[in-house]
């Protein structure tokens, strides 16, 4: 009788040092840029229930009617169980693409459904485009700061990432042109320019119409690819809608990335790429290698959901909720952040980007903030070169008004302690913040620390001063 080996223990046997070394020898070169750090451990604390986390990037899915989800999933089960449980085409179902065309049409775009590939969330869209276009050492241009989730993607493909400064009108196209000239002089051609022109994550700023037009011109003149990431375009709380780059360009040099995550649900993991056919063909091959196809089950759900026709109403509901939360956060920032702080006032999206005096490192500040049970994303996550140390990303979509007010008040307190300490450490520095923290007037800012110059020196972009905001 053959002895059946005992089933393995629920956890693997412990890794010995030798094992670690053995694996380490096998790691691909690209993993050396995939880093873990003490900071990541710090983020483990943000998950504790008593912590008010302004660190997430979460839409508020609690607003989605549960009965609607139940009804639609029941219909999918009753009418299409076999197909919904089966593999699907790598590029996605035509019906899903019809929904995507509808979403893009809502922002004035008319893509050819054949130019679309459905992806597993917008994150995979970034990954597939980078996989398709970037060899190790190739230049990828993006904003400074850029989407923190794009940084590990670009790094894992060993791109040479160049970040272009932004101001209140989005990416500085003049600086982009300088960079392009420099690269041309070096004989290098960037593989693509990655940008989120509307309500950018993390900065919350929007690329102005003039700059959009100029960016598309540049792309066409120099035959450069622009990767437009537009997860938040429909979440606009004020101002006039601006045409997406894809619309201005017509899809020759702009690759468009979209997602259902922010207008429906991130849990369904549905995003998409719209690209010129030759690029698309490679993206589809890359996707096949990555996961064969996007979840058919959730594609069936989306098809069903769109068939009911209420998707725009839900987006309108979200816009109303998020607008209120954005306003609450701006009010709270004005009340609780010291005069030397600046922040963006986004016209849409999920994030506000706040910048503190440059002597404050927001990674250390996070440790202090966690002692007060509040969390944010330190700015360095949005840079490849260690900049952004004095900035932080604050999310207002996934938390209630009360949590926003309390969270910002707590962060304001810890910042004020740092500012006061700095003043005590550097006698002679004029007071920038007192507990009462009167709104900054131009005169006071001029007399005080040279906030703008400091900000420039640390390569952040001051947009609104505390109290100086127009709302």
């Amino acid at each position: 009788m053959t002895e059946v080996p005992e089933p393995p223990h629920k956890r693997r046997a412990h890794t010995s040092t030798r094992d670690l070394e053995r694996y380490a020898d096998l790691f691909a070169e690209r993993t050396t840029v995939m880093r873990s750090s003490a900071m990541r451990d710090l983020m483990a604390v943000t998950a504790r229930p008593e912590v008010i986390s302004l660190a997430g990037g979460l839409p508020d899915t609690s607003t989605f009617p549960a009965e609607s989800l139940a009804a639609q999933m029941s219909r999918v089960a009753a009418e299409s169980a076999a197909a919904a449980l089966q593999y699907g085409p790598t590029e996605g179902f035509d019906e899903t693409k019809d929904c995507i065309v509808e979403v893009m049409a809502a922002e004035g775009m008319l893509p050819d459904p054949d130019d679309i590939v459905v992806t597993t969330g917008g994150q995979q869209a970034i990954d597939l485009v980078t996989k398709t276009l970037v060899d190790p050492g190739d230049v990828v241009i993006c904003e400074a700061p850029t989407y923190p989730g794009a940084v590990p993607v670009f790094c894992s493909y060993q791109a040479d990432v160049r970040q272009v400064e932004m101001d209140g009108d989005g990416m500085r196209i003049d600086l982009l042109e300088e960079l392009l000239d420099d690269l041309r002089a070096e004989g290098r051609r960037p593989k693509f320019i990655y940008t989120a022109p509307s309500f950018q994550n993390p900065a919350g700023v929007t690329l102005s119409l003039d700059r959009r037009v100029r960016l598309v011109e540049l792309a066409q003149e120099h035959e450069l690819l622009v990767v437009e990431d537009n997860p938040y375009g429909l979440l606009r709380y004020g101002g006039e809608p601006l045409p997406p780059l894809y619309q201005l360009d017509g899809g020759d040099f702009v690759i468009y990335l979209g997602t259902f995550s922010k207008i429906l649900s991130p849990g369904i993991r549905l995003g998409w790429v719209v690209a010129p056919p030759p690029v698309l063909e490679k993206v589809v091959l890359g996707k096949g290698a990555a996961d064969l196809c996007t979840s058919t089950l959730t594609q069936f759900f989306v098809r069903q959901y769109f068939a009911e026709g209420g998707w725009k109403n839900y987006v309108e509901d979200l816009v109303g909720i998020y607008r209120g939360r954005r306003d609450t956060m701006i009010e709270a920032l004005t009340e609780h952040f010291p005069a030397a702080a600046t922040w963006t006032e986004p016209e849409g999206g999920l994030f506000i980007w706040a910048t503190l005096p440059e002597y404050i490192d927001t990674e250390d500040l996070l440790a202090k903030a966690l002692r007060s049970d509040v969390a944010f994303v330190p700015g360095k996550a949005a840079y490849v070169d260690g900049r952004g140390g004095a900035s932080m990303r604050l999310n207002f979509s996934g938390v209630s008004d009360e949590e926003i007010r309390e969270g910002i008040a707590r962060i304001g307190r810890v910042i004020r302690e740092q500012v006061e300490l700095y003043e005590a450490l550097t006698p002679g520095t004029p007071s920038e913040a007192s507990p009462e923290s009167a709104p900054a007037t131009p005169g006071r800012a001029a007399e005080g620390m040279p906030v703008d110059e400091e900000a420039e020196a640390s390569n952040v972009f001051p947009l609104r001063k505390a109290g100086g905001a127009s709302g």
Binding site: T17, V45, P427
Partner: protein, 310 residues
């Protein structure tokens, strides 16, 4: 045996603690013990009373974990626990107290000065900074007084960098130390009971030698165990480590971090509850001594149950 594994909690080193604990729990189960994992929170006493473990394995790191707080409760409840007692933990976690104890025992530890926030805010301590900087020289190291990991530790290469480094360190604790920087080889001696384990050397792979984060990352720092030392060096380093454990009252286990400079070893600190993760130094040292992780856990547990035998 019923073993409560205390882990997590609100410490900034919660993540490391959870990894240490996962490995300990696994080993304890393999050894046939009944494991009661407890993520430490406000219900700790209640849970310990309800579970009535025969012994507690403390796998917590950082302030709130290895500073003696949980250990004090365990002492009150009469539950034997692993690692040093509450008083020793409190001494180890606080670099000001630890260094005072070391100096008292004649153990070489780099010169340092301690400050509270109050000293700067209310007593004008900033005016004394220049004098200290003259005494310590540059670069100097600024550290939160309490804390077990690299968090908040900064180098200041010039006087202008001191305020920023102080603010960073004060983010982690209300008291910080400014310490003379000692250049040399970075060594760690793990001590089990009174027995020193093979010495580990951390060798940063190029890059910034002031980048503390790199030390905790595979691929950016190489760990050599046993460290390549002459018999004289090894004896001096081991003696300093054992003397440190005695001075701080560490029984059970501890890890002593030192710099081996041209003029001999300088002790930086002792960790009352060193990490027990896959990449931690104590398990590496035990392995170099021919001890499996299960054996290590058994030894630690035995010492908790019969401290006099340690």
């Amino acid at each position: 045996m019923k073993v409560a594994v205390l882990k997590g909690g609100r410490s900034l080193e919660r993540g490391v603690s959870l990894r240490s604990a996962a490995r300990v729990e696994d080993a304890l189960e393999r050894l046939g013990h009944k494991v009661v994992p407890i993520d430490v929170g406000s219900d700790l006493v209640k849970r310990l009373r309800a579970e009535e473990p025969e012994v507690a394995f403390v796998a917590m790191h950082g302030v709130g974990g290895e500073d003696g707080t949980a250990q004090e409760l365990l002492e009150i409840l009469g539950i034997p626990f692993t690692g040093p007692d509450a008083a020793a933990c409190a001494r180890c976690i606080d670099k000001v107290m630890a260094k005072a104890a070391m100096r008292g025992a004649g153990i070489p530890t780099p010169d340092s000065f301690a400050f509270t926030q109050t000293a700067f805010r209310e007593l004008g301590a900033a005016d004394a900074l220049a004098d200290l900087e003259g005494t310590l020289g540059f670069p100097l190291v600024v550290k939160p007084s309490r804390g077990g990991s690299s968090l908040g530790i900064k180098f200041a290469g010039a006087p202008t960098e001191v305020p920023g480094a102080l603010i960073a360190a004060f983010s982690y604790d209300d008291r910080v130390i400014l310490e003379r920087f000692v250049a040399g080889r970075e060594l760690a001696v793990s001590v089990l009971g009174t027995e020193p384990l093979p010495i580990v050397e951390a060798i940063p792979d190029g890059g910034d030698r002031y980048d503390f984060e790199a030390r905790y990352e595979i691929g950016r720092t190489r760990f050599v165990c046993p460290a390549d030392l002459s018999p004289t060096e090894r004896a001096a380093v081991t003696d300093a480590a054992l003397a440190t454990c005695r001075a701080l009252g560490c029984e059970g286990f501890a890890r002593v971090d030192l710099i081996l400079a041209a003029d001999g070893p300088w002790v930086l600190e002792a960790n009352a509850i060193p990490g027990l993760t896959d990449t931690s130094l104590l398990p590496q040292a035990a392995e170099a001594a021919g001890m499996s992780f299960e054996e290590l856990v058994t030894r630690i547990l035995d010492m908790a149950l019969a401290p006099s035998a340690a």
